[in-house]
Symmetry: C2
Subunit: 113 residues, 2 copies
Amino acid sequence: MSPATRKRGTFRDRAIRFAALGDDTRLSLVHRLSRESPLSISSLTAGSDVTRQAITKHLRVLEDAGLVRASRAGRESLYSLDAKSVERARIDLDEISRQWDSALLRLKAHVEK
Amino acid sequence: MSPATRKRGTFRDRAIRFAALGDDTRLSLVHRLSRESPLSISSLTAGSDVTRQAITKHLRVLEDAGLVRASRAGRESLYSLDAKSVERARIDLDEISRQWDSALLRLKAHVEK
DNA sequence: CTAATATGCAACCATTCGGTTGCATATCTT
DNA sequence: AAGATATGCAACCGAATGGTTGCATATTAG
């Protein structure tokens, strides 16, 4: 199933995003791309302690999660952050917080009754 | 290193939180706990399609990431969401978004100059 | 007391993951 | 054209993951 045809909002889809962020190398890539985009695979590899191939794989994971987009420019592959996808992850966390808050309110009301 | 003594804010620490959320079974546990806490392992297992042992392991992962806290009540282990930890994850995403926004502003300023 | 319930511990298994190395290919640069 | 640079592809490897089953133990209910 492609990202486009895949139904939105299942736990799996959301989990894939979080899983992509759930590795320190990838998280550091996301941070770099949030400060400067686009960046090539080589420049992303420079300043990392792993191989270019490892970085390539990580970028692929981020891309599959929709957190990052790639475009070819000559011999370089340039990666940019997809801010929308980061926002989607944030919204997921917001939902959890909201449900928690309202659960607390219900509990409080129940205790006071 | 215990969660308390571990230095805050490294990519690894943040990544561990996201990694804990990066599994659909665990994400669904977090969702349930955000609506109703505390819940026992048994009740969390009911309504899931995996074994109690699997759930136990997942809860342990969530607990190690600080997203959830356990307490014993008689023969039951009761798990609650730790809202602070969810908030911390949200803050991490906010930081990424903010850096992205300011990078965009810098780019815009540069182009207009 | 006895049976049922709730959990813990440990071993085991297949798959995924993060990483490497080696080689091929495409695109500049000179 | 030739060399340097940037990337892609594939095989391989050890460790971590997600899951199971079997058995032991503790607590509560009848």
